[in-house]
């Protein structure tokens, strides 16, 4: 036992000295920070885009303008809510109850945005937009809060180049505008050259293009008579979507008028809603309401499965390359004169296992640190996730299934390592193992949605998938027979796998030359060395 520890400690120390180990540990926080940092950065740095609006019908220019203004206001509203959440004074509950109603209004605003953005936007505009909101929020902001930065305009109207007649036939206008649309020529706006992002062309006869219920789409009224949106960029659909929404709203309002319907009443009706309360019968009376935390708890196992997968992959790969290194370095023979193959194998399993756990611990720590030092609206969901993870009953499951999964796969990869002399040789033997490991990852989401369904149950009973699948189901209280039965089967399989791997390891560790054929491996498994 002492020898196993010695080997394990050496493996551990050597492992944490490698660059790969630190890359693995640091990559996670770096990605985390990068994702949040770049998200903000990208949102701020989207360039202002110039568009040309040609309204030949003379009816919808205003609606398009409104659409673009509303899109801008929507962004301001979002930014403002984030800004308020980040820079709010820390108040305890009692103070908040007693404080002025400004805080309540802010709470209201935040809630509204979360519940129904369109309605919140209307109200925001009705109330006077940003200026009003700033005055309202000022008393509840921290003393050292930075001033609110209004996001820059994203879409700006540009004038039509003078050489083009706005009343010409649509085909002709587009033909003339083509050099600008293709980026060959640039527009002159306020003395600086800018490229044209989109052309919105509303033909004179656009009225005929309105689609009404009952009227079937025929080939001749299908495409060209509607509003034309010309742009090379096919991925940024915010502008066409906003225009479509706004114009349709204008058309519908006109329609209401034509039919003598009160538009104000319609809007009120549209904003009336009845929320669906999701209740959980498993919980105590009075607390049945399903909260965000509950949803997270239901999905948390997926996170654990993923964590398990990443960490296991890292560990077994290291185990494999490490064994091959020892083999190709011929250190193995000296070791085998000092320790038994089984002691060597166990020492390795233990040492690499501990470094795998170190990695996970480091990840969790950096996650906690990140949530703690980088509080913002975006990380709030993360901190909620963390709270759920740490408070839930899932941690013991994770520890058990992680260790079981590790023991199961590590033995397998160690045996592969002992069969091969180079990583290249190992690759072909590794492929099926990796496929095996992928299966639980692919089915991860299905199982989380139907944790006690037939797929989940069947996969739980396949020992190679048990650690992942049962982890995935852990939050859904699987039937006792599944929990106990699969655990027993899993432990039996682990014992069998380690025994067989040990056999292969013992017999092949001194082998040189070509990797063995399947027949030889089978005879190794049969042999009594």
């Amino acid at each position: 036992m002492k020898v196993i520890w010695l080997i394990a400690i050496r493996e551990y120390i050597e492992n944490i000295k490698t660059k790969g180990f630190w890359v693995g540990i640091l990559l996670f926080p770096i990605i985390l920070i990068a994702v949040f940092f770049f998200q903000t950065l990208l949102a701020d740095s989207t360039p202002t885009r110039h568009y040309i609006l040609i309204d030949q019908s003379g009816q919808y220019a205003e609606a398009v303008d409104t659409a673009i203004r509303q899109e801008q206001q929507r962004r301001i509203l979002r930014e403002f809510v984030n800004y308020v959440i980040e820079n709010r004074k820390e108040t305890d509950f009692e103070q908040r109850v007693n404080s002025a109603d400004a805080d309540e209004q802010i709470d209201q605003l935040i809630n509204d945005v979360d519940a129904d953005e369109v309605a919140a936007l209307d109200e925001w505009l009705d109330n006077g937009g940003l200026n009003f909101a700033l005055t309202m929020a000022a008393p509840s902001l921290k003393a050292d809060a930075p001033p609110f930065e209004t996001p820059s305009e994203q879409f700006l109207a540009a004038p039509l180049p003078e050489s083009i007649d706005p009343q010409a036939a649509p085909e002709q206008i587009i033909e003339q505008l083509r050099p600008w649309l293709n980026g060959e020529r640039q527009l002159l706006v306020d003395g600086s050259r800018v490229s044209l992002f989109a052309v919105i062309l509303i033909p004179e006869n656009v009225q005929q293009g309105i689609v009404r219920p009952g009227a079937t789409m025929t080939p001749d009224n299908a495409s060209p008579s509607g509003i034309q949106y010309w742009a090379r960029n096919l991925t940024d659909v915010r502008l066409p979507n906003a225009i479509e929404r706004s114009i349709n709203r204008a058309i519908r309002n006109k329609e209401y008028e034509n039919r003598g319907i009160d538009t104000a009443a319609i809007r009120e009706v549209q904003r009336t809603r009845l929320p669906v309360n999701r209740l959980d019968p498993k919980k105590q009376e009075g607390e049945e309401q399903v909260s965000v935390a509950d949803t997270i708890r239901q999905w948390a196992p997926v996170g654990f499965v993923y964590l398990m997968f990443v960490s296991l992959m890292q560990s077994v790969q290291y185990l494999l390359s490490n064994t091959i290194e020892e083999k190709s370095n011929r250190i193995i023979e000296v070791l085998l004169a000092s320790v038994t193959p089984l002691e060597l194998m166990m020492g390795k399993l233990l040492g690499i296992g501990i470094s795998g756990i170190t990695t996970i611990a480091a990840w969790l720590l950096s996650f906690v640190g990140f949530v703690y030092f980088y509080p913002s609206n975006q990380t709030e969901i993360l901190s909620q996730l963390l709270e759920v993870l740490l408070s839930s009953e899932l941690i013991p499951y994770f520890i058990f299934y992680y260790l079981a999964g590790y023991a199961l796969y590590a033995g397998l990869f160690l045996a592969i390592g002992s069969l091969c002399n180079t990583l290249k040789e190992a690759q072909s033997l590794m492929m099926p193992m990796i496929m095996l490991l992928m299966a639980p990852l692919i089915t991860m989401t299905f199982i989380a949605q139907d944790p006690n369904g037939p797929i989940a149950r069947v996969m739980s009973w396949i020992p190679f998938f048990t650690p992942f699948t049962m982890m995935n189901r852990a939050a859904a209280q699987p039937p006792l027979i599944d929990t106990v039965g699969t655990t027993l089967l899993l432990l039996l399989t682990i014992a069998l796998m380690l025994w067989l791997s040990g056999k292969i390891f013992r017999q092949s560790i001194l082998r040189t030359g070509q990797p063995p054929r399947i027949i030889e491996i089978i005879s190794m498994l049969r042999n009594r060395p």
Binding site: R10, N329, R330, V334, L336, A337, L510
Partner: protein, 314 residues
Amino acid sequence: MQEPILELNNVCKKYGSFAAVQDMSFTIPKGSIYGFLGPNGAGKTTTIRMILDILKPDTGSINILGNNCALNVRHRIGYLPEEKGLYKKMKVSDIISYFAMLKGMKKPLAKKRADELLKRYGLKDYGNAKVESLSKGMGQKVQVLSAVAHDPELVILDEPFSGLDPVNQEVLEQLIKDMANNGQTVIFSTHIMQHAERLCDRMLLIAKGQKIFDGSLDDARAIIPRRVTIECAGDISQLRQIEGVIDIIEATPPQGSNIKRWEILIHEQTNPQLLLQNCFEKGLNLSHFDHTQASLHDVFVHLVGSEAKEHSLR
């Protein structure tokens, strides 16, 4: 004879149909330096691996340090395998003490011992160097030291001299002598006969998996006749009549000379002086007379020469 430290009885090992070791029996007394000699592929390494219980013999028994399984007494054995390798990223002193600790030494003692060995065998500046920064020869020295750091009663070195320069070969020879003086038993395998000649008390010659010879250096030399070389213009066939002369062979003469060179094989007990005296009496005009003791090299070539050229298929 002293109590044997290692005893093999009729040990056989086959790989498929190929017999790597056949019917091997020998005993090694305590405190001796014992050489395993033999051509490449003779079965030296297989025999050593079986002694160490890394491989199991098919039949036969091995008794090592009073035990029938080397694993039970592995803390009392030191082993340097034929193919050398060390952890590349580890420090030299760490690797020596690690192997000593694997053999049951306590950590502080192992560290002390590592420093002491490095100092004594000319590597004291390299204690903190990483193994990957060492030259091949130095790495090999480190490996020898890590094999013997725990003061084993029995040291088995498989081809310890290969890859070392002459100076370091001497250092290693000294190490082996030191250990023998210390009462430790050393077994080493080699195909360089000079080392065996200088170091070994006894030796075992293996070819094609079989024991060919087992005994002292003098016993080995006695196997092949003494050899006298003479150069002479006249007819020497009459020397054949002298008692003790086995054969006279014409050898290649030195370049640019028309004088003939002869090799005369004589019995071990025959005094070469007798031959010289005879030449004078018969009036032969000798321009060269030389007699050498048969070297181990000659014995080796004599015993396995024809077989070693043909590699048998493994």
